[in-house]
Symmetry: C2
Subunit: 345 residues, 2 copies
Amino acid sequence: MSSGNRPVTIKSIAQELGISFSTVSKALNGNPAIKEDTRRMVVKKAEELGYTPNSLAKGLRGNSTKTIAVIFNDIENPALTFIFRSIAIDMANFGYTTMIFDSQFSKARERANILTVLSRQPDFIILEPNNTNTENLQLLKGMEHKLILQGARYESMACHHIHVDYFQGGYLSACELLSKGHRECLVFTQPLTFPISRLYVLGIKKAFEDYHIPFDDDRIFVMPSTIAAGFKRMQELWDAGQKRYRIPFTGIMTFDDNLAYGVYKSAAQNGQKIPEDISVIGFDDTPITEFSAPPLTTVHLPREKMAESYVQILNSALIDHQTEIRTFTLEPYLVSRDSVRNLLK
Amino acid sequence: MSSGNRPVTIKSIAQELGISFSTVSKALNGNPAIKEDTRRMVVKKAEELGYTPNSLAKGLRGNSTKTIAVIFNDIENPALTFIFRSIAIDMANFGYTTMIFDSQFSKARERANILTVLSRQPDFIILEPNNTNTENLQLLKGMEHKLILQGARYESMACHHIHVDYFQGGYLSACELLSKGHRECLVFTQPLTFPISRLYVLGIKKAFEDYHIPFDDDRIFVMPSTIAAGFKRMQELWDAGQKRYRIPFTGIMTFDDNLAYGVYKSAAQNGQKIPEDISVIGFDDTPITEFSAPPLTTVHLPREKMAESYVQILNSALIDHQTEIRTFTLEPYLVSRDSVRNLLK
DNA sequence: TTGTAGGCGTTATCAA
DNA sequence: TTGATAACGCCTACAA
């Protein structure tokens, strides 16, 4: 036990044992130059004293801090939590500690996070950039071999990429509505400066183009990805006096399941039925999504594959010391449940 | 930019400038002894070179690593994610980095996590113990002033506590069923070695006692808190030939909303209706819970208050340097929705 | 106002 | 087989 006040170090162990601290260090690290008796004695004493090696000193001395830093925009997003957890649990098996940072979709906070991360000398950095502007990425120049970028592709960065085809996600969302006869559609999404939102919307526009249906930018509503935000926006759209929406529409695509539930909530409050009056498509496919009333049609974000890809990159780089730079492109797919009405029937 | 290969340190800045590195250090830290001109020159050069201070060295030297370590059992649990995020975001404002560890309800992994945490010399440790056995807690003896224990109370540890009254949570769950005429009830929970599960079950038993209804331990089913686990258990209970459950019951209490949805899923598969055939009460009150079909009756875990309590303790200790040891006791409450049938009507 | 020296806990190198 | 020493990057007395 660290009974006393002073922390137990190899020096204090050495002192107690009347030997040099470099011997203690070697003994503790299983250096074969140390006599077995000595090693046992040192290990015993270390346990007795409750010795814990100081990672800071180790990191300062050596070339590895056994640390992985993850910078996401919203760690409350269940998909991201899942991915983070997978990484953390897997890498913990190899003695790595995973630190997580939340940029909250703010460029300034992203910058601050990158600087903090840099100061902690991690062995690997995972970043979900929150802006199409790549200014913050410049801070990471020169460490591409230990950097994974998530979301969009950044051609300017020769680093690892875990790229989800959000364009395709948007395209699938829109096609689901268009193919069922919807023409007037709304989009609820995060600001388009957020690279993946941009791709999502681009995919939606492409679908409308393919269907030769006009799509106007004023149909895009930008907001944080929370139930509350989706709810609020819908309420603002609702004209309580006229008992109808200020803009005519039949379907809504949301770049997040939470936003979809905001729509659910508002619809319920205004006596609008889903999917009879309003069709909704979410994004992410949060596990509980299938239990909602009605079960939500949504785009499945391949979280398992994303997590696997991370683990693969991390393992091959950190454990197997491979130097290859890799890109994984993952495809989302539509999960058709009951929140979209077929207007053609 | 860290353009070159060698990392930029105060030494390299000093060298470039032809001054001593201690002057650089002082300049960068705003030491008033340094001439304004020098300071500006140093800061400029530091920016130019893309200098990032090395936290490891700082931590090794000083007495603070500006680090908070959190050890939870399942960071995918939305309530815990919420709490963690609140802590991380708040403390980031003061330059603190928050590390999170997942013990997965395993005593061995908890031990490993504590040791890792210790080696990283954090300024504060937050732990949700996963075993009534307090062996692992011994590792944290002597650092009670920088330790917050979450969940049950540990009388043996004179540290900060964020205590949720899970006993009351269990009691409320059971009363909801009992007051509506349910007599035969099942409990789905994590192993009772997990302190808060134990309290939860104790609360349930107390309610049955108060109602003078017998409650047998074989009604308690122990499992991980996932949708899949709840589903599996329910399926095992279902006798497909007889089209009924092997044990008669009308209500189920689950120590987690996920388990409740496992029950939903299985019920749907076997043609059982909620709440007509089976009544269900969850735990946590995950935000989307109100949108499920039927909306889930559940026990609200006061996540906001928990987060606030953490932030209060952390702020007063780390920022205001207060030494007082505090305990917050928070009360869960029942949120009555539509998953429990009133048998008395 | 600036520079020098020592030390935080480790590991690695070299000498004994 | 063990011990002394230097170095990792930083901060802080203390000296100049």
